[in-house]
């Protein structure tokens, strides 16, 4: 359930508006790596995938801005198409399995601020 309803905000970052081209490229790269990691739990095999992704980005680093923007759009489409149905979310991060489980009580200072009749007895 958690994975479907509350995807962490960082996951949606590549699609946020008002980003510079550089920001879009770097975020696309980071999310491509994360998606590859979602699909490949073995680290040794993941490294090979990561090298391939890095090579694809490096190959196009000399292109003009216009060409680069077109490639970023294509990359976003590819990222969405290959997104893992259950991406990894750390347990205590928003959307994780243990998020908000035991929310701590308000700090005791707040209790001390209350007038005596409403103050919690310790």
């Amino acid at each position: 359930m958690g994975n479907q309803v509350s995807m962490p905000a960082a996951r949606a970052a590549p699609f946020a508006p008002n980003l510079t081209h550089k920001q879009r490229v770097t975020r696309l790269y980071r999310h491509a790596l994360r998606t590859a990691r979602d699909w490949e739990p073995d680290f040794d095999l993941f490294v090979k995938d990561a090298e391939k992704i890095q090579a694809r980005f490096k190959k196009n680093k000399h292109l003009t801005i216009q060409e680069g923007q077109r490639l970023v759009e294509a990359g976003l489409k590819e990222l969405i198409a290959n997104r893992h149905p259950e991406p990894y979310i750390p347990p205590f991060a928003p959307g994780g399995t243990a998020y908000q489980r035991n929310i701590p009580c308000p700090p005791e200072d707040v209790n001390d601020l209350l007038p005596p009749p409403e103050r919690r007895i310790r």
């Binding site: 958690g2 739990p41 198409a81 149905p85 259950e86 347990p91 399995t97 489980r101 035991n102 929310i103």
Partner: protein
């Protein structure tokens, strides 16, 4: 004796709740564990009487209601299947309570947790031991409400609240089916007692069957209705071990077994059971959360049980319920041990590595049991079901496919959790009590399987066994060789859980919401308000205006006196 066994968990739970402030979390845990142990001893003695000595009796406590010649009596029926099932429920319940004592250490509201678990077990025993459908329905509702409370135990978390509500709402559909089924039974046979209905039945009632199957589909999370079971994994792991493996989900199957010979619709059961084996099993192939994988496995195994009832082999169904409950409870507890030791990490991609622990051994033994490897406890009952389902071509294909799928996700889970290197993270050792519980459960599971084993087989039975083993080997090889299914189309369908929730929300949830809105707008706001609150206010203010204009106090006094006299006269 058996009545004491049924009532002890409830008594323990209620005392725990009432005295909770005084005895605290630890005291409540000890109280509930002891009451469960007493219950285990009592029901074990009854099991000896019924299974070994072959005694068959019915204990009546009181007459609940009487309608003509029909009497509804509360009590416990003692038949082989009933007592076996009760024994499984109390044994798993007792071990899970012991496990919870250690697992829930450090969590808040332990008094509530332990007591509700006990009350849940008591409700389940009421359901299992009942001789009539009305008493069964009390237990049915009892387990429903306790399951809601336990799923949403971490009430500060939004997802748990949603999961609890989802379980409740989906199960309501089935509850309605069961209620209608009870009514239909009473109208058709003039009784709600299983025994009386079986004695007067001439032809199996198909309509009643469809109503009861509605209940089975939701409670036992069959094809299309399984969404609540995976979401219910939001609850603590002991809850998953007890409720979503051994007891609550098996209630639907148990009820339909009890009503064998009364209700019709066997072909629907074959369709649903066979479909669920493959449909829900495939979801386990893609799941990454260890608890969800086990939950989908439960749904798939429940499909075997429903299929077994469909092919008129209820004994095997109950046998599979008992064996599966033991093994699946142990599997969940082992998963809980691993989650605990890895600081709440549930994703199998981040597991693996570290030293071999009792929990990991539990995962291996449990997974092999679920796969149906020979000499495991589930093997015997599962093979019996596959053998019986070979009478129907559809049943045979789906059950054989189910073996392959089960092997695939079980091997995948073992590989990720135990074999793979994983992320190097320091694992904490499990608590002694948790280790003890897992070991007890695995010993009981294996011993029961061994005791129930049939050593001699016929030739045609051997043939089906070979086919099953072949499918299992295919599943194992695929699980080792091709663990990640990345193919676009099938991956998207299964990864999105067959788009089950999407169509449910769009076609059912959306429509119901639309109808509800129309009722609120059309009936509540327009008709009821115009005739009720708003209308009566306008009428009264109109009367008031007229009276005020004429203004005569003595006339009001006379009117009041006449009104009182008339009221007194009408009261008589």
């Amino acid at each position: 004796m058996v009545v004491g066994g049924v009532m002890m968990p409830i008594i323990g739970g209620v005392i725990g709740l009432v005295m909770g402030r005084k005895i605290g979390g630890e005291g409540s845990s000890k109280l509930n564990i002891r009451s469960m142990r007493v219950s285990v001893v009592m029901i074990s003695m009854e099991l000896y009487e019924v299974v070994i000595n072959g005694v068959k009796k019915e204990v009546k406590i009181w007459e609940w209601m009487r309608e003509g010649v029909e009497r509804v009596e509360c009590g416990v029926i003692e038949e082989r299947e009933v007592v076996e099932m009760m024994w499984m429920v109390v044994v798993v319940g007792s071990i899970v309570e012991e496990y919870s004592r250690w697992y829930m250490k450090g969590e808040g509201e332990r008094v509530r947790f332990m007591s509700i678990v006990s009350i849940f077990i008591g409700s389940m025993l009421i359901l299992v031991g009942s001789e009539n459908m009305l008493q069964m329905y009390i237990g049915w509702e009892g387990i429903g409400i306790c399951s809601y409370i336990l799923i949403s135990y971490w009430s500060s978390r939004r997802e748990t609240g949603k999961a609890g509500m989802k379980a409740m709402v989906i199960n309501r559909i089935g509850d309605m089916g069961i209620m209608l089924g009870i009514g239909k039974g009473y109208v058709s046979y003039g009784s709600v007692s299983y025994g009386v209905m079986k004695s007067v039945v001439i032809e199996e009632d198909r309509i009643m069957g469809i109503m009861i199957i509605m209940g089975v589909m939701t409670k036992s999370s069959q094809m299309g209705m399984q969404t609540w079971l995976s979401d219910a994994m939001e609850g603590p792991t002991p809850v998953s071990a007890l409720i979503h493996a051994a007891t609550l989900v098996t209630a639907g199957v148990y009820v339909v077994v009890r009503m064998e010979g009364i209700i019709g619709g066997k072909e629907i059961m074959i369709g649903i059971g066979g479909g669920s084996i493959v449909y829900i099993g495939m979801l386990g192939v893609y799941a990454q959360d260890i608890k969800k994988i086990i939950a989908y496995s439960t749904g798939s195994q429940l499909g075997y049980m429903v299929l077994s009832v469909g092919v008129e082999s209820s004994n095997n169904s109950i046998s599979h319920v008992v064996n599966h409950g033991m093994v699946k409870g142990m599997l969940f507890m082992s998963a809980g041990g691993i989650i605990h030791s890895r600081k709440e990490e549930q994703d199998i991609r981040k597991m693996g590595g570290g030293v071999m622990s009792v929990s990991k051994m539990g995962v291996i033994i449990g997974s092999m049991g679920i796969m149906g490897i020979e000499y495991s406890s589930v093997y015997e009952s599962k093979e019996e079901i596959i053998r019986e389902s070979s009478m129907s071509r559809y049943g045979e294909i789906s059950s054989e496919l189910g073996v392959c799928i089960t092997s695939y996700y079980s091997i995948r889970m073992i590989k990720r959790v135990v074999v793979s290197e994983g992320k190097k993270r320091k694992e904490e050792e499990e608590e002694e009590g948790m280790k003890r519980s897992i070991m007890w459960m695995s010993i009981i599971g294996v011993v029961i399987g061994y005791m129930k084993r049939e050593w001699e087989r016929e030739e045609w039975e051997e043939e089906i066994g070979i086919k099953e083993k072949g499918m299992m080997i295919i599943g194992i090889v695929m699980g080792i060789w091709k663990e990640k299914i990345k193919e676009r189309r099938i991956g998207r369908w299964i990864g999105k859980k067959w788009y089950n929730e999407v169509w449910q929300n769009r076609w059912i949830g959306g429509k119901v919401e639309e109808i509800g809105r129309e009722i609120v707008e059309g009936i509540d706001r327009k008709i009821l308000e115009e005739c009720g609150r708003k209308g009566s206010r306008e009428v009264m203010s109109g009367v008031e205006r007229v009276v005020r204009r004429r203004g005569n106090v003595s006339k009001y006094g006379i009117g009041m006196v006449i009104g009182i006299i008339m009221w007194g006269w009408s009261c008589g």
